[in-house]
Symmetry: D2
């Protein structure tokens, strides 16, 4: 299939490479040219302008912020140049509001829009093992589903409104932040009581909590290893804000999300903004004098 791809950070590059492996004809564009050229060597066509990436049947984008989406024009102007029938698959985690805005902007141009945020870091993306949450009009989702399945371990369809996929992803990221806070508090408690936190972490993450979140973040917190940041405090704070914003609109009290958000602010003030968000656990320890 003829596919375009805009936004080639670590995540995007990994997914794009898998699209190539699956045999698709890929046109890539990135603000800085190096990542695009790297994919060019693997067989992708390197676009000179973003609009070239909109001439296929599907456009993937993985742009980190709302303003990056606006800068490239995907909220409107660039869509003028899209091939008829194009479906845009937005892989990024964005706000409910912006998801609605983008969906409408595409609809007005007769284009499809599928929100498809992912769970998994860049190594998972490169291995084709992402979990993808998709949402959008049935016809659009049906069109992109086979391709999404090629680059993921699991594809779940959250609903027919694109923002539902974003809500799904945001709620999941909130659960991650909550788990980090929870470990931070528990570890601080046992440590101040003279118990070896690594033993505590090992026992729990090999039994009741034997899953990637508790194993990975638990070890990071116990060892205060917050660099390099797989996902930074700033980004974590952004996602919890998105959860709180959605909760305002949907009238859902989220006291735990509020608590975590205030701790993220405190972490940022303490200079941890660019550290891994597991450092929230370190902040909790420091409050206990550890």
């Amino acid at each position: 299939m003829k596919i375009g791809f805009i936004g080639l950070g670590h995540m995007g590059s990994g997914i794009a490479a898998n699209l190539l492996k699956s045999g698709h004809e890929l046109t890539v564009w990135n603000r800085s040219s190096a990542p695009a050229e790297a994919l060019g060597e693997k067989g992708a066509h390197v676009a000179h302008a973003p609009k070239e990436a909109l001439q296929g049947e599907i456009l993937f984008s993985m742009l980190a912020t709302d303003s990056a989406v606006r800068d490239v024009g995907l909220d409107g102007p660039l869509l003028e140049h899209a091939k008829t029938g194009l479906v845009h698959v937005n892989l990024a985690t964005i706000s409910i509001d912006f998801a609605r805005h983008l969906a409408q902007a595409h609809d007005e141009k007769g284009l499809g829009y599928v929100a498809a945020p992912v769970f998994g870091r860049s190594d998972v993306a490169a291995a084709g093992q992402l979990t993808i949450i998709a949402a959008g009009a049935s016809a659009s989702v049906a069109k992109v589903r086979p391709v999404l399945e090629q680059v993921s371990r699991r594809l779940a369809v959250a609903g027919e409104a694109p923002e539902q996929a974003n809500l799904f992803k945001i709620a999941g990221n909130f659960m991650l932040a909550a788990a980090i806070e929870s470990m931070g508090e528990a570890f601080a408690l046992v440590r101040k009581g003279g118990v070896d936190a690594q033993l505590f972490q090992d026992v729990l993450s090999q039994s009741l909590f034997a899953c990637p979140v508790y194993q990975g973040y638990g070890n990071a917190i116990v060892n205060a290893k917050f660099e390099p940041a797989g996902f930074s405090v700033k980004l974590g704070m952004k996602d919890v804000r998105l959860a709180l914003d959605a909760a305002r609109e949907l009238s859902v009290p989220l006291p735990l999300a509020s608590l975590v958000h205030d701790h993220f602010i405190e972490a940022t003030v303490a200079g941890l903004g660019d550290k891994d968000w597991a450092s929230l656990g370190g902040l909790v320890a420091s409050k206990a004098g550890l």
Copy 2:
């Protein structure tokens, strides 16, 4: 080995049965006689008085509350009748303070005291798959270790002060409560946005959160299945209180534990005290109007 066992609820009976299977000579006592007689049929000696259970090398006890321990006299009077060199293994989750008190009471009588709270419900106990956290003087722990290993999947030694095992267990139970709160909030958020909570639960508990806590409690919350109670709101609240009490003594701020504790009170007021503590997730949903 000659072993006594006091307290034959679901948990205690399962562990006692495994001690029998391992070939130990077991003397059992329980306030109500039926559970003791059931073990009697499996080969245990049924004691007529608690003191008979203190004539072996090890005494196990699994009594649910501090007052049950006091009623039977294990905080002092009963110890007068213990065989020299007896080591008491207390399997229950008790407060830091009471653990210290019991340790001292045993020490004054020249007896050993090992705190050995467990992770796992009664079916896990029956299957010999518990995780046991032990703490106490090295010699005492060394004596009971082989027996504890026979009835568990894993034995971890938390320290030389018995209360350290209780702190370990309490901190672990707090993490469970935090996970329940976190799921309750996340599920409420996605549901009010029109996303299928079961799908959300399935995706997360089969990927990032693929572990017993999130699988079991997540499904209970999604399906509002809070009966029969595997572990009740009242017991959960008790354990979070023990965590908060320990946090006071050790000077550890635990805002998430505080939040969960207030929700437990609210759940009790709402009549959920005897429901499974997963109903905390139901409380969160009701606050969102679900």
Copy 3:
């Protein structure tokens, strides 16, 4: 002085009437005509279109929401018709962001913009006893100061950036909400212990807390008198949100504001949105089973 006034709700009408009493030549406009005509009978000129209110030296506006400001065009279009040198005094409580936006829109047209939110309800406004917090460029503030002093008990200048007055007001309203929450919890506690909450309220609000906030809201909570709403849950929630939004931008952890905000959401879900925001205290009581 020749003055215009747009937005004649209870608050606006009271202030406008005082401007008339002070001898100013007043042109008034309101979406619905009745309040304007009422002031017309007191000597005001009733405008047929908003732009007529921008032909004096000062324009006052008291519009409840951002969208009301936009509907009337005060964020731009209407300013085209303003008399040269006009200073716009915005009496409403708006967000930091919108305050900046309005300030810039006026600046681009060469007009002055002074944010001047007020403390006090409509009876206080009518009595000329408001506390006004003003902020804006020195020259603009100097121009409007004498007039503001005529209609208030106290005028405080918060800074040269208009949004500083809004921040001041928002922070003050947060303190009000916090006081309500605090009373709600304290009253619930003493009531469940069999103490007369009215006695408790009387003693405290006549000693340590002998001030309008604790006297007025305290009695409302004790007597569960939440109608008519002097200031509704919805409006209170809006202002606490503005505080949280400002806190995000300025990196200030506000856990108490977060707590109150979650309770406001819960109150809205419980159908209290249009009740007085003192009903937050009623919500706290209901959580305790009262």
Copy 4:
């Protein structure tokens, strides 16, 4: 009337001096002799042993901690020596549980027990301007009422169970702590927005919050003046704990008290334990990087 007085700290000495002024025959005892001798010079009889203070019609005590009460034997042993019909007025803020325990201990000896905690610091006590909250059996309260009225500005009777007066006092102190937290957050917010916190404090504490709590603590927080401690972080934390303990027993969710308590722990860890509890406001500022 013949009255005894045990516990002559700043508060106790002031009240005792006022009893002397009112013409009562006073027998005083204190662990260290200096304060007793000072009152001796004003006409009090200085006891050589605590039991001498129990030979009148009323015994006042003002002992800071439960253990001080126990050390002197007022929970039992000392009561053996009391004159028949003695009513003991306990002015200290103690826990609900300990209040019940003391009431019963007195009852068993046929003595009266009135809990009478006070609002006001030592200067207020010396000026005879305290607010006293009394509770106890009607006959006992009736007996001591005239004397309490002589040394206070206001006497309120909270109920017939002594612990109700303690609950009243504890709930009041929680409200104070909540006000401090609230000011701390609001001041941090305006300061980071460039607004003069002193101006903010002045405006609010001279209008809506024109009362001693907001005036006194507000100025302390704005000026970071936390020494000498009128009431320390440690004592404030103790009282909020008493509130949380009462809330556990009475099933009242107190999320704001929980929040404040966690901040008190954090303040203690940060070395502020002996500073005035207004330093909670300083803690909040430091979290915001101020």
